[in-house]
């Protein structure tokens, strides 16, 4: 159950998350008598006039409450809140977070299930350098009131706006273009770091990625409490680059990091241990993405790594159904058709791995991971085995083939996946280390 409290009307000013816990006294961290708008993301909550749930109270369920007085709550008058009942949240809700600086650093602002006709009204105009689209498809505009040039983007982590054709510090309005597409088994992987004990003070979101150096934005040696909202494989490390002592935490609220096994103010890097993947299907190709993803996860889960489906979409591009791809070698110059394929409605983050499902290539590959380094991904064709997708992403993660010997037929990177002789192929220790060095494991 989750709610976001805002300092000003229309979800402006500073904000505070309250997730899976009650707040008997908002004055403890400066939020008492300060709330002007609210977003209830899930559950029903009771908002109360005084601390310890005293005075008048108003119950609110999932929804946007841009001005509390419209819902019977006096402005700047809430001092406590608590969960009343669980229940369905804002599912299918388009949502994104915009950040002041590159790499999701600096101040951030949530935009959930609403449009922003002028980001200038609360100091966010011409200030956006990175963003994360959690769900839905959004259009970013140069000027207020949805004018000037614009760019549509779907779910993903956009660490630097200029990588997707948006000028830095130039966005002035944002509008929902399309509702979120809900895919079974797909959800965000999210952790929130807090400056102080009991989830107080400043906070920082990590969504569908970790951060290998928290010192770069002032969060190194500063975390005192953590909420893991989703994802089973988060690792929290004492040193940068995922080094030093570490703890593994699954979903839960950890009000005091010391109780979770890490010294206070010592956290320096965090890893989600996921490989986010975007699936694109050329209409006419035969696919079995749930099977491919399940098999990939059977293999990589053995080593604490999860393949994570960001989104999938089908493209009507008959010219690319049988791709002109004469060779499959890393670093090869792409053919015209390959360039078209890799640029196909590229409305996701450039660093996301994309798996393209098509019918065939004129080389006759089952799969091929020879995409340009700047457009990581692989092709998977109708001839694929159940292991092909995982095998090809193995290449993207830096793995080469193992020798074609009988002893290696249990290895994911055997040169012919049709001859793998175990249900769940393995990776050697050296291969695991290679994957852990990959920039695509976040």
């Amino acid at each position: 159950m989750a709610v976001i409290l805002y300092e000003h009307i229309n979800f402006r000013g500073k904000h505070k998350h309250v997730i899976d816990r009650d707040e008997p006294d908002l004055h403890k961290d400066g939020w008492g008598d300060r709330i002007s708008s609210i977003q209830v993301l899930s559950g029903t909550w009771q908002f109360c006039q005084h601390v310890n749930y005293g005075g008048w109270s108003v119950n609110l369920g999932p929804g946007n409450y841009p001005w509390v007085e419209d819902f019977g709550i006096p402005n700047d008058n809430i001092s406590s809140l608590r969960r009343i009942s669980t229940g369905i949240g804002l599912i299918n809700t388009p949502g994104l977070i915009i950040y002041e600086h590159i790499d999701f650093k600096g101040d951030h602002k949530h935009i959930i299930d609403r449009d922003e006709s002028s980001l200038h009204s609360d100091g966010w105009g011409d200030r956006l350098s990175s963003f994360q689209i959690i769900s839905g498809r959004w259009r970013f505009f140069q000027h207020v009131d949805y004018s000037g040039w614009s760019n549509v983007l779907g779910p993903g982590n956009y660490r630097w706006v200029e990588q997707v054709g948006i000028s830095n510090d130039q966005i002035s309005s944002i509008r929902r273009e399309e509702a979120a597409v809900v895919i079974p088994d797909m959800q965000s992987v999210e952790t929130i770091l807090y400056e102080h004990i009991d989830f107080r003070g400043d906070h920082k979101h990590l969504i569908n990625h970790g951060q290998k150096n928290l010192h770069t934005d002032g969060w190194g040696d500063r975390v005192s409490s953590i909420q893991v909202l989703s994802g089973n494989r988060w690792t929290f490390h004492e040193h940068v680059d995922y080094a030093g002592a570490s703890i593994n935490l699954g979903p839960g609220s950890y009000r005091w990091i010391v109780d979770a096994g890490m010294a206070n103010d010592r956290l320096s890097s965090v890893r989600a241990n996921i490989v986010p993947i975007f699936f694109k299907i050329i209409q006419g190709a035969t696919t079995n993405i749930p099977r491919d993803l399940r098999i990939a996860n059977q293999v990589f889960n053995q080593y604490g790594i999860e393949f994570f489906q960001l989104e999938q979409e089908t493209n009507n591009a008959p010219a690319l159904l049988d791709l002109d791809q004469p060779t499959c070698f890393m670093g090869q110059s792409p053919t015209n058709e390959e360039s078209q394929l890799y640029s196909l409605e590229r409305d996701h983050a450039p660093s996301d791995i994309v798996v393209y499902y098509l019918r065939s290539t004129n080389l006759g590959v089952r799969g091929c991971a020879a995409c340009p380094i700047t457009q990581p991904g692989s092709v998977v064709t109708d001839g694929a085995t159940q292991f092909t997708m995982a095998h090809e992403i193995g290449h993207v993660l830096g793995l080469a083939h193992v020798a074609s010997t009988t002893a290696n037929r249990n290895n994911l990177m055997f040169p012919n996946t049709g001859q793998i002789n175990v249900a769940t192929p393995i990776l050697t220790n050296a291969q695991q280390n290679t994957v852990r060095q990959s920039q695509y494991l976040v």
């Binding site: 159904l321 049988d322 006759g364 049709g418």
Partner: protein
Amino acid sequence: MKERINGKIEELLSAEEFNDLDEIVKLGEKATRGLVNILSKESDPLMRKRAAIALGRIRDKKAIEPLVNRLMDKDPTVLISIIDALALMGQKSYSDKIIPFLDNPDASVRGHAAKALGVIKARNAKKAIEGLLRKEEYEFVRKEANDALKKLGY
């Protein structure tokens, strides 16, 4: 020796990314019989497709007849590779066998047939290619047809 070559061919043909095509091509005409066998009898369309690709690269004339005979393959991805192979081998005399594929329900097959007829300079295909241009809905097939007409000198 023959069994060793056939074993080698099967191993090379079944690789995940099929980057060892050159290894098969190096075997030259010694590989033809094994590849024709796979093209004719293998149930996996990917293996048949790869056999056709390799035969096209080896350019052994003994493979022409078996390739033409397999133009009845039901899998469009295999058909494409057989048509490409015949084009690579410059088999103008078999253009009549390729022309009907300009009417194939599969757009990729139509495109590859048009391209092949241009490559082998099958001037007898002019009318059929023009007919394709009149009714073709896909731009990428129309482009192949136009390119073919140019190669034919029209």
